[in-house]
Amino acid sequence: MIRADAPLLSAQGVGCFFGPIRGCEDVSFDLYPGEVLGVVGESGSGKTTLLKALSAQLEPDHGRVVYRNRQDDAIDIYEIGEPERRFLMRTDWAFVHQNPRDGLRMNVSAGANVGERLMAVGWRHYGNIRGEAVDWLQRVEVDAGRIDDLPRTFSGGMQQRLQIARNLVSGPRIAFMDEPTGGLDVSVQARLLDLIRSLVTELGLSAIVVTHDLAVARLLAHRLMVMKQGHVVEAGLTDQVLDDPQHPYTQLLVSSILRT
């Protein structure tokens, strides 16, 4: 069976080096519309470096990252001009940081954080922007009465949900998420996972989720890549990789999970 649709994002032999140090090397995969790809591996395995290379934040030393835009043209994201890349970063790609402080503007209100993304894609009517911001705060389960409060008055879980609202409000096609549930306590994590999962399904969003938490990967990702020392050592259907791991490193990761 062959997929009718073309990949949305395609990594072709991507490699990033910091001087002599390898961030990631020879990573290739295709991401299809509506698909969630999980990237797992221990700290230092190159997950975040790869995510940066894929999301136009770090130009790789080797290989190409090809994105299929809304006009159905396949473009190399590092060969297009800076203005076009900036435009895509505002319209088509969302980036959810592990620490919400990196993805939010802490000195403007929650409503402004969400509204800013809409203004960046051309919204001008204040009432509409505010209305949309209220709607999104409710979707991510933040009390709409907090719309004029600064994010620093929010709890960590609320800040993370606000960051997600800010990123998804402009209708992106791919969400890049770096440890989206890291650093949150488990009850908040569960809520956030449920939220991300339903938003991804409702919006038909594609996503690349970097996590070291295999339970998060199991719940969110259709497909999994396991990284070790900058290389992808195993890839496949999420439950197959986790339940019948083939590579010694994947077996080590899976067998290291504490069962409660």
Partner: protein, 232 residues
Amino acid sequence: MSDLVTIENLSKRFTLHMQGGVEIPVLSGLSVWVAAGECVALAGPSGSGKSTFMRMIYGNYTCPEGAIRVRHGGEQVDIASADPYTVLDIRRSTLGYVSQFLRVVPRVPTVEIVAEPLIAVGCDKSEACDRAKVLLHRLNLPERLWSLSPLTFSGGEQQRVNIARGFAYPYPILLLDEPTASLDRDNREVVLQMIAEARDRGAAIIGIFHDQEARDAVCTRAFDINSFQAVA
């Protein structure tokens, strides 16, 4: 041909790299065909590879040797060599699996968990939930539990949620791993009836039934997996 599942020359061994690379051979040279309207009971003692075999058919375990062909949308597709996208597509509309364990996202209400397979094939959400409620009702799960997450339910209640979910969409092929375990007599009867109805509508069913009475009630034949034991 009305064979919905064709398994040819399947073998499986596990290599435990964490334990000195020890090899555990499980199955070798297994072939079997299952037609529409058949309910095949996998027979064999504990540890003979019944669950492993089921998981291989579902694409949950890799299949390094042999072919697992299922009829999917009018074509024969080999799960052993299919890409992840195809396996997910097969699971969406062709292949249902009722495992012994319920694995769910915390916080999601029972009725939505049961309705999810229907929503995944494009069914309207309220229609899907209505169908879910009919199943939950049939399986005697008290209505006050429907809006709660099943994580705190008893074993038997979780198993019934699992069964309702597995039967929400009329899959042409069903894999059932001990569907009647941990159920009381009345509920076991309901589940056996549901299996018989699926079989009679033309589903190909492969199941593990430890309970002889259940096996006699719904299965059309037994398949002895023990004769395909791999030897170390």
